[in-house]
Subunit: 385 residues, 2 copies
């Protein structure tokens, strides 16, 4: 909330709030679009990161999609905004099929994901009952990270494929996600993981086709693997989400630089504990999230990197600890840098560990441009399920 | 969202969602009310945990308060609901004083917190300018945890007191919060911490009064210390928040039992990785938060304890890992328990690490009663700043 009627600026915004550097976002979008164009593969951006119609319109290749979502709330919100090609990229439970069907009756080409015969049969049964061959992808477990059929388990794969194709649903293909790519330690390792992701999906697609069943879609992706895949042969689409904003986890992986990170939290200095070398700010874990993704990386960035109000990083100055609505800024342990001398009321930006988690703590993006203090737009986010 | 017109039940609620066991909440409220009555001290419940008007009405001693809040958004929401005695319990930045004054003009007795001469002067200057002697408490650092004046630093303490009292604000007293009580390892240690918290606040109040300045309010509190304080002599009010719901961190500290925990997340089984001993559910970190508060306790509960749909804990069954919208349930490492055999679609409840953080991921409480499947009420939460 701002009391002033004039357009807000970095000085007048109430803090904490979420800033979005549109120029950096555009650069991130163009970078991956360029890579996908070079591979000749369709990008299906994952909208679970932005959860915003305005960002979605900038990240999708057309106003109708394609796009991926992580909740039916996202599917409903983006459908209302005109997106018609959506993948609900989390294994569907039978109780969610009513909402899936309601969206499909409105003309949305919404695809679901299953990884068991049990779930496939539930989708097929509901599809038969509704007279709508709900399209489904079979999830493949390319890296032991999450859900999915083991790539070598052809019996299970074909059992699911037949339960979809022969019992009422529409077998649309396979999908996988190399979540373990977040744990890679080099770009080379990410490229290897991309190949593992690709080959798992493509080999499963081949097994399905060899059994005389259809498999038009081969969907893979994570932000790291999407950026460093050497080949996407046999892949029909790539999914990625966090690349639109990037974050410290991605920078720590080498997927982006810190100054590619487009989403930051604006905060205000509220006090000092000079004896301890602390600066207190009004961004606690409510504003940052509790995500500490860089704790598992070689360089732990604690709750985030501290920048001046224009976004210039103070070397070795970290948001070190958080209470609900207070953060404690300290120097990185062992650093010989000097903490900046900041009065109460000074504004700072914090670069977050994990854009998906930090953005989810906020209801809107305050859109800013490099070197300018004016907020050029206010883009709402949604949430819930 | 529910598609059925009938009142929802645990079977028909869309998942993930936040359940509130009203009977447990009432028991928790009555327990601390009883302790405070025995001490003869006013309780000022901290509403940052519930962020709900319905819960606030049940936890406050009168519909007008008193209560504490952590954001001005909370102050505005509770003021709109009729609460008139509010403490904004986070160090105030000068830019927030316009909103403070706007609330005070509406008749809200809103008190702010400062811990520096710089902030005290800013409050006094704005108070003079507005013709409203904004009341302020001086924060004391009783345990090195966060903000506040060091208890032995009488020069600083009196400097702040005079900057408030003599320059335009209203010196209302002192406040402190023993945040380090969350790291205690026994009830005895918590009781010692409560005494440290009490004596820091009372000694500072005495120093202020000895200098001929007013100090009517001596405000202390955290959920652990509020429950185990041996004496509250000299204290005029106690603040506590998370006790209304409790959580696994509080259970790990010995402040409550697991079956006192009133807020849980309802989730649905969406898959299995039987070879790995995993059950996949639709509660990921978006539904649970990334809070892993028990990681620092002797028993790490990972992302939470898994219960059946009625809230009965499955021994040694944990929400072990989370993706954004998926959770992985596993047995506790080394356990010889057996994972329950749960079909896709089965409902479970997850007991969270930290009620403040988990509840903040949700927009409403679905209020339930023990042994009943009906949802008896839907209480909205708010958020933001």
């Amino acid at each position: 909330m701002t009391l002033a009627a004039a357009a807000p600026t970095l000085d007048t915004l109430e803090t904490p709030c979420l800033l979005l550097d549109e120029a950096r976002m555009t650069r991130n979008i163009e970078r991956l679009n360029g890579l996908m164009a070079a591979h000749g593969v369709q990008l299906r951006p994952h909208l679970k990161t932005p959860k915003s119609v305005e960002v979605a319109r900038r990240v999708m290749s057309t106003p109708q999609g394609p796009a991926a979502v992580s909740t039916l709330q996202e599917a409903e919100q983006f459908a209302a905004a005109g997106v018609t090609d959506l993948l609900y990229a989390v294994g569907v439970s039978p109780s969610k099929l009513d909402r899936v069907l309601a969206l499909r009756r409105r003309g949305i080409d919404l695809t679901v994901v299953v990884d068991s015969i049990e779930a496939a049969r539930a989708v097929s049964a509901r599809a038969r009952q509704a007279g709508d061959a709900i399209p489904a992808l079979i999830e493949i477990d390319c890296d032991g990270h999450r859900a999915g059929v083991q790539p070598g388990d052809t019996a299970q794969l074909l059992g699911i494929a037949r339960a979809l194709h022969e019992e009422g649903a529409c077998l649309r293909g396979v999908m996988t996600h190399a979540g373990e790519s977040y744990g890679c330690r080099s770009v080379e390792a990410i490229a290897d993981m991309a190949e593992q992701e690709r080959s798992a999906a493509v080999s499963c697609a081949q097994a399905i086709r060899a059994a005389g069943l259809p498999c038009p879609v081969v969907s893979v992706g994570s932000t790291p693997t999407a950026h460093f895949a050497r080949s996407l042969e046999g892949v029909t689409e790539v999914r990625a989400g966090v690349y639109v904003f990037f974050d410290l986890v991605m920078a720590g992986l080498g997927v982006c630089r810190v100054d590619d990170i487009a989403a930051t939290v604006l905060t205000t200095v509220i006090g000092h504990q000079a004896d301890k070398g602390w600066i207190l700010v009004d961004a606690g874990w409510m504003a940052m999230s509790r995500d500490r993704g860089t704790a598992r990386q070689p360089v732990d960035q604690l709750y985030g990197l501290v920048c001046d109000v224009d976004g210039k990083v103070y070397p070795d100055v970290l948001l070190a600890e958080t209470n609900q609505e207070q953060g404690i800024i300290k120097l990185r342990p062992g650093s010989d840098a000097v903490l900046p001398d900041l009065p109460i009321g000074a504004k700072l930006r914090i670069v977050p560990n994990h854009a998906c988690a930090t953005c989810a703590q906020h209801d809107a993006y305050e859109v800013v441009r490099p070197g300018a203090t004016e907020v050029v737009a206010h883009w709402e986010r949604f949430r819930g399920w």
